[in-house]
Symmetry: C2
Subunit: 259 residues, 2 copies
DNA sequence: CATAATGTTGCGCCATGGGCAACACTCATT
DNA sequence: AATGAGTGTTGCCCATGGCGCAACATTATG
């Protein structure tokens, strides 16, 4: 239930259902054909046949011969090709490594994915914190430095579309209203970088700056993050300038952008 | 050309074609509908419709409105769900971080994917080398420490199936024959860990040990790697024991496995 | 051992997805 | 500018391919 049964433009139904299966497996982690068929509103046999198609290509694995299914390694392989072709990531290693070395914290690159922030590349800093691998994880836009950077320069309607589904208070300093977020984004545009001071989870601090393409559009965000024990609020201004400078180097246009 | 047109068991053709598109895009990096249609041996319109199905789910992105396509962020999101559900990776962060800290080198977890080695999780060591992110990358089995670990304990037919497609000499010490590989694997089983001394690329050293499930089967490999300037051949024995011990902690059974 | 689950496979029928061709559009070339 | 060849997208109509049904094989559970 809760499925989006809107017939999105003109597409191929069986493919659409197969891709639905992937999303369902991503949510449940491991499922049988029957419950998936129920979710899709199709017969068991249909789900089974779609599943074998996915299985042949390695996008799903069957856990115990006859039995349940889970997402497969083929997806990891494909995802590797994605990030290597992302403009922001390609050729960014030298810069991100240098940044991680300079500030001694974890460095990530993130992009906007509808109204979520998706982490696509990561370098872990020398301090060896380190929080878990963020790759492929997505988080809301309103409580992260990356989210603010990625939305601040959007047009108003796009900004609204990028707002979170709920304004639940996730951490001590979470932003919990659209008005407060707009004010925050004003400040981000002013300063040219964004910060998050324990807004997604407590003890978690981050500073982010925009990566722009050759037209000046913000296409990705460069972010450093670490525990409150090492990143203090009074360091924000200094770190912001550092991150901003690194992000400029990654921008499509070699010239720095003035803001 | 060179397509595998074997009708793999009973699957759904349109889905199969759609997944073919993903693999084609992974190889070419960015393609138009026409050349993909030629590769699939179908009409442009068919390829276009399949593409929109993939587009609606975010598995591909169109680069410039009207125009070419590339793999999309949806794949990264899905791949994130894969690794987090992998037995070997879940709950491994504490161990891998400790290992990276102890040896000061990059730590990876890899699994066997047909006859290739696929890297699924990574922690970068404090020395900040660091080679590029290995995630989602796949390499042959015969010239890597991980490949040896992942194949050494397989049955003979499985070992043969896991052999590389070509025995091309990739680096100074590459193994270039099945016989030499079998002898090497004997040694791996003996020692309980594997090494690679500039076998894939020069200046690149690695030491790997097996991660086993509760039945004792090798399901993943834990590996440390770094440049020859820091990892010497005479360190192999010491590092091997360290990696072996960390890998034991990751194995499904809390008891250590005797070999 | 019986019962109730599961996932997989022939088999027809009808929907659906494929090919065709016309269209919209971008980019070179003259 | 105007032409041309290239692209990707969209109605249309027919038959192919995918769906539901039901029987089957297999495994869990009593």
């Amino acid at each position: 239930m809760g499925n989006t049964h809107l017939a999105e433009s003109s597409s191929v139904q069986s493919v659409d259902r197969a891709l639905s299966i992937l999303e369902i497996l991503a949510q449940r982690g491991e499922s049988g054909v029957t419950e998936i068929a129920a979710d899709l509103g199709v017969h068991k046999s249909t789900a089974s046949r779609l599943m074998t198609a996915l299985l042949n290509r390695g996008l799903v694995d069957q856990v115990s011969d006859r039995g349940r299914y889970r997402l497969g390694l083929g997806l990891v392989r494909l995802a590797g090709s994605v990030t290597s072709s992302l403009d922001a990531v390609s050729g960014s290693r030298a810069v991100t490594k240098a940044l991680a070395n300079e500030v001694g914290e974890t460095v990530n690159i993130a992009v906007l994915d509808n109204n979520r922030v998706l982490y696509v590349d990561q370098v872990i800093g020398p301090s060896m914190v380190s929080m878990r691998s963020w790759l492929g994880q997505s988080v809301p836009t309103h409580c992260t430095a990356t989210g603010k950077v990625l939305t601040a320069w959007l047009d108003k309607p796009e900004r609204i579309a990028a707002r979170p589904n709920s304004w639940k208070k996730l951490a001590p300093n979470s932003i919990t209203s659209a008005d407060a977020l707009e004010k925050e984004l004003d400040q981000v545009r002013d300063r040219g970088f964004a910060v998050a001071n324990q807004e997604m989870e407590s003890d978690f601090m981050a500073v982010a700056a925009p990566i722009r393409d050759e037209h000046g559009e913000v296409t990705a965000a460069l972010v450093i993050s670490g525990p409150a024990s090492r990143i203090k609020a009074e360091d924000f201004e200094v770190l912001g300038q550092i991150v901003k400078q690194s992000a400029s180097k990654l921008s499509g246009n070699p010239n720095f952008w003035r803001e």
